[in-house]
């Protein structure tokens, strides 16, 4: 499971960084989205990967991390998802404004001669 998780995070980050460095605004926003997915998975995995245990306390079972999943990264990831989502929406608006003002979807607002 660790290997699958690590591969998933790695592939998402790699594609995200590649897209982030592309010259089109839509590619940049896709790159940032993929990176934020990778980051969210990473935060989640920092609470150690565990199958079939809940982040809540059950009466009669000792409340240690051996018996429950770590609830903290799950709370963090929730916050990170919400903030990331809002920021992506905001970036999308700026992207459209830039497209409208400059008539191009190049990140610099003007086409480069190559």
């Amino acid at each position: 499971m660790e290997a699958v998780m690590a591969l998933a995070i790695g592939v998402l980050t790699g594609s995200g960084v590649y897209l982030l460095l592309r010259p089109r605004t839509f590619q940049v926003i896709m790159g940032l989205t993929l990176i934020s997915y990778a980051v969210n998975l990473f935060i989640f995995s920092m609470g150690r990967l565990k199958v079939d245990s809940e982040p809540v306390l059950v009466p009669g079972i000792a409340s240690t991390l051996a018996n429950t999943a770590d609830p903290m990264p799950q709370a963090l990831v929730l916050t990170a998802i919400v903030i990331g989502f809002a920021m992506t929406a905001l970036f999308l608006v700026v992207l459209l404004a830039s497209r409208g003002l400059s008539d191009t979807d190049h990140v610099d607002g003007e086409e480069r001669d190559e």
């Binding site: 605004t25 934020s36 916050t79 990170a80 920021m87 700026v94 990140v107 607002g109």
Partner: protein
């Protein structure tokens, strides 16, 4: 008078620790209230913004008094800890008001108040929701300065950034949207790095409380140390992007010079927030006495700071536009501060903290002043025609003077004409800003640089880095002076139209206030330096910070009082 202070101290004692949350809550509630008001009620909104700014500033000054006064808290250097959720420190979020935080909050209060007064003159009409965004920005800044929890710091960073995106785009236009696009992209990427670093630190140490992190890192097994170092490096990259450290600062100049001037004045605080977080995290996580991890990354910090300082100084010299010039001086001060932080000597830190206050106030005043100068020069327009094409102000692309520029004074006899008061104000303020930014006597810029230099020379082991810093500090001051002299000559001594500037009192007041604050810093240099030295000593020994944060007791709730012990 003493009785008045004694009464004030008792009042402060009564209001603590709740007073710590006031600089965050006041702007938040003000912003919420403003959002319910229609866009046409601008006068009411700007009045509200000024009132909220005043209340925030008074709260910040009261905190500053509480931290320093001998009769409040645990005497001088007491640390106010507020538990917002009433959970004890490692488990719940804490707000911590120590000397460093309260100083930064008070600085934020002064600059934000000046910016909101200035914006009431005209800039708040350039778009919608200016004042609520400024208040949210203020909330994010104050929260980031006061929080004692790493993840909470991330949240306040995002609040501040979200507001700054809106403020940067205020007024719209192609230049601002283009600069905003880059600014948002780099900050989203930096936020991802912040999250990765924070998550790694949590994964290794199992805590996000800064004070607790410091203790856990000191006790860490050697095999986990590499992970912590990697996490700290990733976190630092995010902070460097915000502070404007060299390879990560190419967004800064276009963004700061494209923003409307009261926004640029507030943005001068954002890089200082980056420097603050570097200083805070570095001293809390890797203090000098924690063995293997002590002062991890010092070389990188000094190196990046020096390169930033050098690049900023070259930029100052190479630019012709006033707004770009001011943005490059932001970089110069960021580089200076990062290097001074990296040197790791308390005497240098004390000088750097004083310099931070002085340079932030001066840059903020300079941004506001530039707006007035540009409007005077361009006969009422805020942005000159040449600004759109990227040309130099009074030269065409092939560096020949524009036709309407009066290079010699044959047109008018100069004697016998009194200098109009408006020009005198602009000119004197410009000279004041130039002295402050270049660090020349007699103003506070000089005192700050002098304190840093004397700290460097008095330090026990001055290596090559200290000498390089000393040389670059003097060189950057010299280059700034040349650039500002040139700009002053261009803008004040060659007048194409010679119209008398119309300066509304509401625009003169904030600039005059910021410069007067610098003057007050110069006159009251001794108490301010004492505060800065005490702050630096406390940063060197974070044990008091640990004890205060982890020792904060929760207030028992109504149900707890009887049953549970």
């Amino acid at each position: 008078m003493n009785e008045l202070f004694a009464l004030l101290d008792r009042l402060l004692e009564f209001s603590m620790p709740h007073l710590v949350a006031v600089p965050i809550l006041v702007p938040m509630l003000t912003a919420a209230l403003m959002l319910t008001m229609g866009e046409q009620r601008r006068r009411a909104k700007s009045t509200l913004a000024v009132v909220s700014g005043l209340v925030g500033l008074i709260a910040a000054l009261a905190l500053l008094r509480w931290v320093n006064a001998p009769d409040t808290g645990d005497g001088p250097g007491s640390i106010g800890v507020y538990l917002p959720g009433n959970w004890r420190a490692p488990f719940g979020i804490v707000l911590v008001a120590d000397r460093l935080s309260t100083m930064m909050v008070a600085l934020t209060g002064v600059v934000a108040l000046a910016a909101s007064i200035y914006s009431a003159s005209r800039w708040d009409r350039a778009g919608v929701h200016f004042h609520p965004l400024l208040q949210l920005q203020l909330m994010g800044l104050n929260g980031a300065f006061l929080t004692g929890d790493l993840f909470n710091l991330f949240v306040f960073f995002e609040v501040m950034l979200a507001a700054s995106y809106g403020l940067l785009l205020h007024g719209s236009g192609r230049q601002r949207v283009s600069a905003g696009l880059h600014y948002i992209a780099i900050n989203l990427a930096a936020s991802s790095l912040f999250l990765i670093g924070a998550a790694m630190l949590y994964g290794v140490t199992g805590t996000l409380n800064m004070a607790d992190l410091g203790q856990r890192i000191a006790q860490l097994a050697p095999e986990d140390r590499g992970l912590v170092h990697a996490a700290a490096a990733i976190l630092a990259t995010a902070f460097f992007a915000k502070a404007g450290a060299w390879p990560l600062n190419f967004w800064l100049v276009p963004a700061y010079s494209a923003a409307v001037s009261p926004v640029s004045a507030v943005f001068a605080l954002l890089t200082k927030l980056g420097v603050y977080t570097v200083l805070r995290m570095w001293t809390v996580l890797f203090p000098a006495d924690t063995g293997a991890s002590a002062q991890f990354g010092q070389e990188v910090l000094i190196g990046l700071g020096l390169v930033t300082l050098f690049a900023g100084a070259l930029g100052v010299l190479g630019t012709q536009r006033l707004a770009n010039l001011a943005s490059y001086t932001v970089l110069v001060s960021a580089g200076t501060l990062l290097t001074a932080v990296g040197i790791g000597q308390p005497a240098v830190w004390a000088g750097a903290l004083y310099y931070l206050l002085s340079s932030t106030l001066a840059v903020a005043a300079f941004f506001l002043l530039i707006d007035m100068i540009e409007r005077w020069r361009n006969a009422g327009m805020s942005i000159a025609p040449h600004e759109f094409s990227g040309n130099a102000p009074f030269l065409t692309e092939d560096l020949t003077p524009l036709h309407d520029m009066n290079l010699d004074d044959d047109a008018q006899a100069l004697y016998g004409r009194a200098i109009p008061a408006g020009v005198a104000f602009l000119g004197l303020s410009f000279v004041g800003c130039a002295l402050l930014l270049a660090g020349l006597p007699p103003l506070s810029g000089f005192v700050g640089k002098f304190a840093m230099l004397s700290g460097l020379l008095g330090a026990p082991d001055t290596g090559n880095a200290a000498w390089a810093f000393l040389a670059l500090l003097l060189l950057s001051g010299f280059l700034t002076l040349i650039a500002l002299c040139r700009a002053g000559i261009r803008h004040f001594w060659t007048q194409p139209h010679a119209a008398i500037p119309a300066l509304p009192a509401i625009e003169v007041l904030p600039v005059a206030t910021l410069l007067a604050a610098c003057l007050a810093l110069t006159l009251a240099a001794e108490p301010v330096m004492q505060h800065a030295s005490a702050t630096a000593e406390a940063l060197l020994r974070p044990q008091a910070y640990h004890d205060a944060v982890l020792g904060a007791r929760q207030i028992p709730g109504p149900t707890q009082r009887e049953g549970t012990p």
